[in-house]
């Protein structure tokens, strides 16, 4: 091969490698195309911030329609964002509200039907009909009984803060025929849970996950959405 041909081959190979590296950096490192981070830091006031999540049985916004998923509400626009990443300020009382639209699944370990790590170690639980009217009064419970009834949908847990909260499923009677089937849910019966916890003084990234293995079709139920950020597991970033 003559010298110009060799130089040309070398140049082409070099550019191919550079292109591959750029693609990888952009796609994987900079997270272009990954789930968005919902920022609650500007919505905080008086040392408190209200964070709202919902969990749905299926989703119509991804390429995996059968996968259960959490959604986070944007505090300014009140739109539901398909993500599990959110940011809260440090040393703040987080008042979390979770709307549980998904039906019941047994806990792999019934220990997690206890509420642990919230302020007062309880959650406030109220059931709602698909018309949007409450089924009964809100009650403070420290355990969501999943063993004798079908009543836990998922859990919300931040193990690094020792926070473990079972998220109730909608009333079994009501949800027998009318569970919400799309996402984000706006109609259908749901359970409403409210609880609070303090974020630590120093910042950091705290992973959170669900302890109900709902990854149907994957061995032991912990595959699929359970291990995919943006569905049933994510990060709470504490910004100091």
């Amino acid at each position: 091969m003559s010298v110009p041909v060799r130089i040309a081959t070398l140049l082409v190979a070099f550019l191919a490698v550079v292109a591959g590296a750029v693609f990888i950096v952009v796609h994987y490192l900079l997270g272009v195309g990954g789930p968005a981070v919902v920022d609650y830091t500007s919505a905080a006031s008086g040392g408190q911030v209200n964070v709202v999540l919902q969990e749905d049985a299926q989703n119509s916004v991804s390429s995996k329609p059968d996968w259960v998923s959490y959604f986070v509400q944007n505090p300014q626009t009140k739109q539901w964002v398909h993500t599990t990443l959110f940011k809260v300020p440090a040393n703040t009382r987080v008042n979390m509200t979770i709307l549980g639209y998904d039906g019941c699944t047994p806990l792999r370990n019934n220990y997690f039907s206890q509420v642990e790590g919230t302020i007062g170690n309880t959650v406030s639980l109220q059931q709602f009909k698909d018309t949007g009217k409450p089924l009964g009064p809100a009650r403070n419970v420290s355990v969501v009984n999943s063993w004798s009834h079908c009543s836990v949908g998922h859990t919300f847990a931040i193990p690094g803060l020792h926070l473990f909260v079972p998220v109730a499923s909608p009333n079994a009677q009501l949800s027998a025929n009318s569970l919400c089937g799309d996402s984000p849910c706006t109609a259908g019966p749901y359970s409403l849970e409210k609880f609070s916890f303090m974020t630590p003084k120093s910042g950091g990234e705290f992973r959170w996950q669900c302890f109900v293995p709902c990854g149907g079709g994957f061995l032991d139920g912990n595959g699929g959405p359970m291990q995919t950020i943006g569905f049933m597991t994510g990060f709470m970033t504490v910004a100091s």
């Binding site: 070398l10 590296a21 994987y28 390429s63 059968d66 990234e205 994957f218 061995l219 032991d220 950020i229």
Partner: protein
């Protein structure tokens, strides 16, 4: 014996392609036709998989059907091989036509490197290019890992991306199982034993062409979200994992098949194709190492292929080999994998021993000290390596009385390994040591492998292993033995033998710069990992204790510098072979090896006639030592060497 003892009577003919040579280049079977048929095969297999299995409830619930991926890859590989022309001779046999003779590839031109060429020298160069590519790709993944580990709290990569990168790095490096046997073994072993060919050229070429397929399939795992279980593939996580896991098992299985074929060919070649006079006691040490490592390949790799196959069945058709809840056992995979896995690491280490014991006498100008001891060491390592695998399972809950037993066998294997050091030290005694670049890498091999080996003794001790197992201590141990050992030996081999393979020598100044940067930064990267492991950092984690951050930063920065040194190597290779092209056609190292007695690059038929070997390759300093071989023996000498050997084409000469 199938040595051609009658000059000119061999079946090997120069190239005559017949009607095929009249076709334009893009219709001749080569890389591009392989790729085209592979793509067609993939789509067919994918369709077939969906047709067969999309109705299973598991697939509906999980939205992931593994069957089309596996079948797609299977048909893609068959298509790739068919498009390359691998099955042509088989087809000819089946329909009764005569097979094409094994050809000597012509001396010039690059087209032969992109085809299913049967000349072992071409396969060697193809392997060299492939293995360097796989190594560099694995290295890029390593850079990503070290970037993430710069901080325990700030995460550059998401945890799933990090896991994916960790798995790809480890498995990609395992694609280099044949990193020495592939390029150097295939190219040099026939020449070193005085043969014009290998026993099974088609199997040898096939073993190479499986590796790009395995590489591409492994990389395609990135598109499926990767696999979350590292390179060890433990069940039941493997059965739980997403679609990327199929890429891992398929690629690894292909690599296993490639390794089996390559090893098998080498064994038969060495046993049957040695030139007259090449007794076992005159065999070069490198050939001994290729011989012993091939036994490991042939006996251990099938277990991997079987295990990978079983896991794929677990994942696709819901068999339950490795699933405890359904009557299988997660221990079964662990034992199958490590029964392969431990001989695998000796597959990686032994060729390193072979290269450095081959190089040492040349640059000490002395015979190899204790030839028989070195051979015994290699054979001992080979035999014992099958009896130690449960040391990977000391804490898994295996039968407790297995542990002293495997502690014993693992400690015993350090005895034959130590013999390699005895041989080196004896060769140094009163030698005349010159510090060429290959010798520098060989010396670094001994330095690194010593640290790696002694840390292995720490790991074999069960009480100490309680703290060290699964931590960065293990990582440091195997990086010292595999990278510090094998890769440094590979570099020694490249600097030593590239003039032989291509007729071009690598630039010496860049070589020395490469050596010093690689040696210094390699040690500065991996030595602290022993401390990190002992301080409690497990493997494959993206978060670690805050007080370990400084040490991790030191390691990461050293790793980046190590990457730069590999870049220097790459620049040296590219510039020397493409642009500077300093010719080297003689015997620059004044070596007595048989491969150095023929011109460089080696002519198409290796030798004009099969030589008669007259003495061993390590007779430096011996007064009046006969030359290594007679390359042009008078008529009748060769056949005379086989008086009474029975029927042969030259018997009546």
């Amino acid at each position: 014996m199938s040595v051609e003892i009658q000059p000119g009577s061999d079946r090997i003919q120069p190239v005559d392609e017949g009607p095929e040579s009249a076709r334009p280049w893009w219709l001749k079977q080569a890389f591009h036709t392989g790729l085209a048929v592979a793509v067609i095969g993939y789509f067919f297999g994918h369709w077939l998989g969906n047709f067969l299995a999309s109705g299973y409830p598991q697939n509906g619930l999980s939205d992931s059907n593994d069957v089309p991926i596996v079948l797609g890859y299977a048909f893609a590989v068959i298509g790739w091989l068919a498009g390359l022309g691998v099955f042509n001779d088989l087809g000819r046999l089946v329909i009764g036509k005569p097979m094409h003779d094994v050809e000597y590839a012509p001396a010039g031109g690059l087209a032969k490197y992109f085809k299913f060429t049967l000349d072992h020298k071409v396969v060697g160069i193809q392997y060299l290019f492939g293995m360097i590519t796989y190594f560099l790709t694995g290295g890029l993944f390593a850079m990503a890992i070290r970037s993430e580990l710069l901080s325990p709290t700030f995460h550059l990569l998401s945890p799933s991306t990090y896991l994916m990168v960790v798995g790809e790095h480890g498995t990609m490096m395992m694609m280099m199982t044949s990193i020495i046997l592939g390029p150097f073994g295939n190219y040099l072993v026939p020449i070193m034993i005085g043969s014009k060919r290998v026993a099974f050229p088609r199997l040898e070429a096939l073993s190479f062409w499986l590796t790009p397929a395995a590489y591409i399939i492994l990389l395609s795992g990135l598109l499926f979200g990767g696999f979350p279980f590292g390179w060890t593939g433990y069940a039941p996580l493997s059965v739980q994992a997403g679609q990327g896991a199929d890429c891992y098992y398929f690629a690894f299985g292909l690599m296993g098949i490639s390794v089996i074929l390559a090893g098998f060919n080498i064994i038969v070649t060495i046993v049957n194709y040695r030139a007259p006079g090449m007794r076992w006691s005159r065999l070069p040490m490198f050939v001994w190492s290729m011989f012993t490592v091939s036994f490991l390949m042939v006996l251990a790799a099938p277990v991997l292929v079987g295990g990978a196959y079983m896991t794929l069945l677990d994942r696709t058709f819901q068999t339950a080999f490795f699933t405890n809840t359904l009557g299988g056992s997660s221990y079964l995979w662990q034992n199958l994998f490590w029964f392969f896995g431990h001989p695998e690491v000796y597959i990686l280490a032994l060729p390193g021993f072979g290269i450095v014991t081959e190089i040492l006498p040349v640059f000490c100008r002395k015979p190899l000290f204790g030839y028989r001891i070195a051979a015994a060491g290699m054979i001992g390592v080979t035999l014992l390596s099958f009896f130690v695998w449960q040391h990977h399972l000391f804490d898994s809950g295996i039968n407790p009385d297995m542990r002293p037993l495997f502690m014993l066998t693992t400690e015993l294997i350090s005895i034959p390994t130590g013999l390699i050091f005895l041989v080196a030290m004896g060769t140094f005694w009163k030698a005349k040591i010159s510090f060429s670049v290959p010798m520098l890498f060989a010396l670094a091999f001994y330095f690194n492998f010593l640290i790696g080996g002694i840390s292995g003794v720490f790991l074999s001790d069960v009480p100490a292993d309680t703290t060290e197992h699964g931590s960065f201590f293990v990582m440091a141990h195997f990086h010292y033995t595999i990278m510090g050992g094998l890769i440094f030996a590979f570099m020694a081999g490249i600097y030593y033998w590239l003039p032989k393979l291509t007729g071009i020598r690598l630039n010496e100044r860049l070589g020395k710069l490469h050596f010093w940067t690689m040696f210094i930064f390699f040690n500065s990267t991996f030595l602290p990992l022993f401390a990190l492991g002992m301080a409690g950092m497990p493997r494959r984690v993206f978060e670690y204790a805050r007080n370990l951050e400084t040490l991790n930063d030191w390691v990461s920065i050293s790793a980046f510098c190590l990457g730069v040194s590999i870049l220097i190597f790459l620049i040296n290779v590219v510039m020397s072979t493409l642009f500077w092209r300093e010719r080297e056609v003689g015997n620059p190292w004044r070596s007595r090896g048989l491969e150095w007695q023929v011109p460089s690059p080696v002519p198409p038929s290796n030798f004009t006639v099969v030589p008669v070997v007259l003495s061993g390759p390590y007779e430096y300093g011996v007064k009046d030592a006969p030359p290594v071989a007679d390359l042009d023996p008078p008529a009748g000498v060769i056949s005379g060497a086989f008086v009474g050997a029975g029927a042969g084409p030259g018997a009546e000469a």
